[in-house]
Amino acid sequence: MSTFELLGMGFQNAFALWALLTIITGLLLGVVAGALPGVSFVNAMAMALPFTYSMAPTQAMLFLGAIYVGGVFGGSISAIIINVPGTPASLPACWDGYPMTQRGEVRRALAVAIVASAIGGLTSALVLSFAAAPFATFALRFSQPEFFAATVLGLISVIAISKDRPIVSLVSLFLGILIGTVGVDPQYGVARFTFGVPAMQSGINFVVVMIGLFAVSEVIDLIATNRDLRPSEAANARGKVSFRDFWDVRGAIARGSGIGSILGVIPGAGATPGAVIAYGVEKQVSREGDKFGTGIMAGLAAPEAAKNATTGSAMVPLLTLGIPGSAATAIMLAAMMLHGVNPGPLLFLNDPTMVYTIFAAMIIANILMIFAGIGVAQFFSTLMKTPPAVLGAFIILLSIIGAYGVRNNIFDVYVCLFFGLVGWVMKRVGFPTAPLVLGVILGPLAERYFMTSLANYNQDWTVFFTRPISGTILALAAVFAIWSLWPILRARYRSVVLLLAGRPGS
């Protein structure tokens, strides 16, 4: 049977009543979980896993797949409305989405985010359906040095993200990497920077840091400045959504979808690096790149498209090779194994119906996500109409629950509140917080890939440059860095000194 026939059969199965209901339930669960800071879609999938035991294997996969698709988008709702990324991958949505909300364009921001996410997700669902096999072979060639190089690219993109002070951003990034080293190291099991506190051995969780830096600090600022978050009537008028808005960012959506689809295939890359790299690339490519961070739609659309574009392609290595590239796909693998289904090449031969039903469901889920997204976003939008004091209390409550929920650990709540204070101080003195969070997320990954690479290649550090894929990615990272820093490098020595002092040169 041809791919089209198989996919047709898949659609037939996925449009059955029980299958559609499963997808819709999963989507709603995912969007809500994603939108709540601290409850990531990975948590939601892990919690949903026991419910899938009683389902047929295909239904279980549809359920988990829908939670995955909805959850990856859901994080952006809270990122755009209250500047708190519901999931790490929605971090870039804060940078241009929240400024739009501050201007009163919350509806426009949400509409762009939902459409961009849906198109990104749809693109990668189609990649999954038609190009799974060649992509899987490509992904297998990624060894630890390639993972390391991809992580470095993600770290470097911080320079691109920083508006005008790359040096300050780098300081923030390295601080984040330092915080990421706290705890028992993954390779040799040595405790680092724990200061004898047992709770510190488990490390500082990046979700907790993120909630503190973005959510708690925002509330402190709200109280300190006594400003009103409610958009004025006049501002709301500018929030009208038109088709023009989507057409204007078509390039950004296309680039984001492409970057996300490719990065998603690589085990270990996933939604967060995908979104961050897409933002960095878009900033370089876009004509409005220098205005990114002030509420530019292209800066919102690109990472939104990219992060959802990782959902379909992340399932490529899972289904074709049986290799889970992320926590989300690992849970799907567990669900399949518990049902006695072994993913891998044999699955395509033994049970093509199941495989193509999953493909079809991913396509349907991304289209239905537009409606699920609008529904949940409507509910969250009403939050905006509440007085700042009530909203602040709500955010603090959500943050504490979120921080505790990550690992059910009260210590994390203290860490979260501490970083809330740190975040507020950083905000006041104009020290960027986003690079710090990226450092906490990507630093430990980079370390693990680096150490395993060295062990695998005879402690020879040149492998990072001599292996073709790894070398290409690192070269790309270098070009990226030089391109972003070019204005500074070109400037006279005096301005560089001024920049180092934290004041941009003339």
Binding site: M47, S143, I323, A327, L346, T452
Partner: protein
């Protein structure tokens, strides 16, 4: 009316107080959810075992058993959390061979006596596998190459200071020197031989069943006294002339050492019943890990023996 209302409230409060004091005794244990700490990330062998057990035990114990993944440091991050949790039977954890091995090489700050093993629920020997396109068709070819080219072949393992590491050290001592490449993420480890990133993988068969079934993995050698009934053609390390200490991969459920006896007894009873269930039997058959569930002092002794065997090897 008002007075009745107040009396009812008083009764509720008194009843509540009885429930509170009763919570600590075995008659009512368990009367609230039991947290199961899986000491590794989602998707690995410990996670699948933990979630499977949690689901069956929910039926046996009548309370919900939420699973929390606390990965890191060969499982020690999660175990430290378990050890520092109240020893009241409301926090359980997975304690697996890999973690016990890590203690012997000084990783983490946990020791065998910090925990009370409820039951060893899975145990399985490990194999050396190569990818289907590997030039090594037999264990002999692999070992000959390793002897002739010390330090050339790479083996994907779960980490340093594990039973994987010990097996490779013992082999190196006998002239078969291969490089240990630790992959803490299971997915990346399974992919390593398939993508040609390492030559060999040291793994238990249950975790890589899909690759064995599809023929993408070739089984070369088993680390056990006897051949495996499911893999009758795969020679043992002993047959290949190696003098090994056989260290099975095992997975247990454990609670902090100070947990009251009656609570432990209740949990043991539930775990034995769970292991006998149809669902568990189907699961362990699929993962090649069926065995008679070991509990009590016997289980505790097994852990101690494993720990000492590894410590002895690493000291040499």
């Amino acid at each position: 009316m008002n007075r009745i209302g107040r009396m009812t409230l008083g009764n509720v409060l008194i009843a509540g107080a009885f429930v509170m004091t009763g919570a600590a005794t075995a008659q009512t244990y368990p009367d609230r959810p039991i947290e199961l700490i899986v000491t590794f990330g989602p998707g690995g062998g410990a996670d699948v075992m933990g979630r499977q057990m949690a689901q069956i035990l929910e039926g046996e114990l009548g309370v919900s058993i939420p699973v929390t993944n606390v990965g890191g440091a060969s499982g020690n991050a999660g175990l430290t959390r378990l050890r520092t949790s109240p020893a009241d039977g409301y926090t359980m954890g997975t304690l697996i061979s890999l973690t016990v091995a890590s203690w012997a090489s000084g990783i983490g700050d946990n020791a065998p006596d910090d925990f009370r093993i409820i039951g060893i629920v899975q145990s399985t020997p490990s194999f050396l596998f190569v990818a289907a396109d590997s030039p090594f068709e037999t264990a002999e070819q692999l070992l000959d190459h390793a002897r002739a080219n010390p330090g050339e072949l790479t083996v994907a393992t779960s980490g340093y200071g594990t039973q994987d590491d010990v097996a490779l050290i013992i082999m190196a001592d006998q002239g078969f020197d291969m490089v240990n490449v630790p992959f803490s993420a299971p997915g990346e480890r399974y992919a390593a031989p398939l993508g040609g990133h390492t030559d060999v993988i040291y793994e238990e068969p249950g975790d890589v069943g899909q690759f064995i079934d599809s023929g993408e993995y070739r089984s070369l050698m088993i680390f056990a006294e006897d051949r495996h009934p499911e893999f009758p053609d795969v020679p043992t390390a002993g047959e290949m002339g190696l003098d090994m200490v056989y260290l099975n991969t095992f997975r247990t459920l454990a609670v902090p050492a100070a947990t009251p006896e009656d609570v432990v007894a209740r949990l043991e009873e539930a775990v034995i019943a769970a292991a006998a269930s149809e669902q568990w039997q189907a699961f362990c058959a699929q993962t090649y890990t069926c065995l008679e569930t070991l509990t009590g002092e016997a289980a505790q002794a097994e852990i101690r023996i494993f720990y000492e065997a590894i410590a002895a090897q690493l000291e040499d």
